[in-house]
């Protein structure tokens, strides 16, 4: 599995005079096999970081290296087999008219992989869905099942790095736990490197070894999981965020 190094990542979105500097300058590194969290309020640029790493956004400055190789230098095929992404909203990330079979078969065909039936079945087994789900359409699946299909789609190309953009925020609490267990289980078995975006510190506490706190496009502080328990953050904003979250947990 591979490490991720992000150095001086910056991007401006919008055109001409309206261009906004969404990420001024972001740097962080993720060890191989680590789960690295990105937390921050809505609009702080967490999804944008993931979209830059995966090259869904192309016009950024700086370098992103995965396993020592710059993502820009990788061919499309290689990049797809190195990094994959799971999206926030499972209701919008599956094509409404594609069956699960099509969703899983497409990447195999694009990458010209062998043993296709076997791989599709394995992918479904990995995410804990029965093989009979191959012929279902998204509208015949629950939210949690859709997110499992989305995870299976990301895993079927056997990537090294998984970018998880709030993979559970659109799901209700019991299903959230299921998906998080599935994800940490997969990491334990296969050793994937995760970058997990969340605004829920409980999720970060459960999943991540380290996490970065973001505010308006900048990384304020990188902390260990242990920092959550005694709130040992040094930066004001990070302290505030953590104590607010602890207060919220007590209240509920």
């Amino acid at each position: 599995m591979k490490s991720v190094e992000v150095t001086n990542l910056g991007i401006a979105l919008g055109h001409g005079a309206k261009a906004v500097n969404i990420l001024p300058d972001v740097s962080f590194t993720v060890e191989q096999g680590e789960c690295f969290g990105l937390v921050g309020e809505s609009g702080s640029g967490k999804s944008t970081v993931l979209r830059c790493i995966s090259l869904l956004l192309e016009h950024w400055r700086g370098t992103v290296k995965i396993g020592g190789a710059s993502v820009r230098d990788m061919g499309v095929i290689e990049r797809c087999r190195t990094v994959q992404m799971v999206f926030q909203d499972p209701y919008g990330s599956l094509h409404p008219r594609h069956s699960v079979r099509t969703v899983l078969y497409e990447p195999l065909r694009i990458h010209n992989l062998d043993r296709r039936q076997e791989r599709m079945e394995q992918a479904l087994r990995d995410v804990g869905l029965p093989i009979s789900f191959l012929d279902r359409f998204p509208h015949q699946l629950s939210g949690g099942q859709r997110q499992r299909v989305a995870i299976a789609r990301a895993l079927i190309l056997e990537p090294d790095v998984l970018l998880l953009d709030e993979p559970t925020s659109a799901l209700d609490v019991s299903v959230q736990a299921e998906i998080l267990n599935l994800l940490s289980d997969l990491r334990a078995r296969r050793g994937y490197t995760y970058i997990l975006v969340s605004h829920d510190l409980a999720v970060v506490d459960y999943m991540c070894d380290r996490f970065a706190v973001m505010r308006s496009g900048e990384i304020v502080e990188v902390l260990d999981r242990a920092a959550l328990e005694n709130n040992s953050a040094t930066h004001d904003y990070a302290r505030e965020l953590i104590s607010a979250s602890i207060a919220y947990d007590r209240a509920s």
Binding site: R79, C80, D89, H98, E106, P107, R153
Partner: protein, 298 residues
């Protein structure tokens, strides 16, 4: 109704392909207006297939001893100014009408879809060029443009079809582009890009299926216009040429005898009216049947 959901396992693969079609059909038959449209079009197709068997006379044989006979007796809908049987001519005319609709649809649908989805998905310079071309075509009224084309190409049925096709793809392209713009930034397109799918593949596999329902509705509604334009060109002598039994051309020649022999223009006129009405009703029905909000029920 529920038997599709509980379909036995082995057949479920095949059924899942046909089931949506059957559901749409069932939905159409539930509303009287779209059922009427569907029935008229089914009848039109059947009449066209069996026209030679059903026709009581040869549509082109003239009989000058038997001109302008009123309906009844030997001639169900009477005879025209050359003694030809109007009923038989109408029957053979269904073939011409269907031919026009078929050819126009199979050219206009793919062209409109291709232009619209490419412009919408690729954006930038492709969008600018393709959409300016579309705008140029759209800035003339369809019939006028068709008239100009036929005048330039020479009057014949095939040229009329080409002219109609040339004038009716731009609205489809506009529609397909607008639809594409609403999907292009969705997560499932992003996911397809992350799997290494080429733009061509994304357009064919992900975008076209999403645009297809509204394009199909639009095409169906368009057919009424196509029929009327074809009839209009026929009427002006720029479409089908004599002695072809095209409905618009039949009205054009019958017009001179209209005051004494009403049947010459009435029957082709009613046919045109009925068929274009049927396509309009069917299009409206399809709009309800393919409404995305209904998708979850299927």
């Amino acid at each position: 109704m529920t038997d599709i959901v509980n379909a036995p396992k082995p057949a479920s693969r095949r059924r899942s392909a046909i089931a949506p079609l059957l559901n749409v059909l069932r939905f159409l038959l539930r509303s009287p207006t779209s059922a009427f449209g569907l029935a008229v079009i089914a009848l039109l197709v059947l009449l066209a297939i069996f026209a030679p068997l059903l026709a009581t006379h040869d549509p082109n044989v003239q009989n000058l001893n038997n001109v302008l006979q009123p309906p009844g007796g030997n001639h169900l809908f009477g005879t025209d100014e050359l003694g030809r049987d109007i009923f038989s001519r109408l029957l053979h005319g269904t073939r011409i009408t269907l031919n026009i609709i078929f050819l126009v649809t199979i050219t206009v649908g793919p062209i409109g879809l291709a232009v619209g989805t490419i412009a919408g998905y690729l954006g930038g310079i492709f969008d600018t060029i393709l959409m300016r071309i579309t705008d140029i075509f759209l800035s003339f009224p369809g019939l006028i443009l068709a008239l100009a084309f036929v005048a330039a190409l020479g009057p014949s049925l095939n040229n009329a079809i080409i002219a109609i096709a040339l004038t009716s793809w731009p609205p489809i392209a506009r529609l397909a582009r607008a639809e594409t713009l609403t999907f292009r930034s969705s997560d499932y397109i992003a996911a397809a890009r992350l799997q290494g799918a080429s733009p061509f593949r994304i357009i064919m596999h992900s975008i076209v299926p999403m645009c297809l329902p509204s394009v199909m509705i639009r095409l169906t509604l368009n057919m009424a216009t196509v029929i009327l334009t074809a009839a209009g060109l026929g009427f002006l002598g720029l479409g089908a040429q004599p002695p072809m039994p095209e409905w618009g051309a039949m009205i054009a020649t019958g017009r001179r005898y209209m005051l004494d022999s009403w049947w010459l223009v009435t029957f082709p006129g009613v046919s045109i009216l009925l068929v274009s009405l049927a396509f309009n009703l069917l299009g409206d029905g399809l709009r309800d049947a393919l409404d995305p909000k209904q998708m979850n029920r299927r």
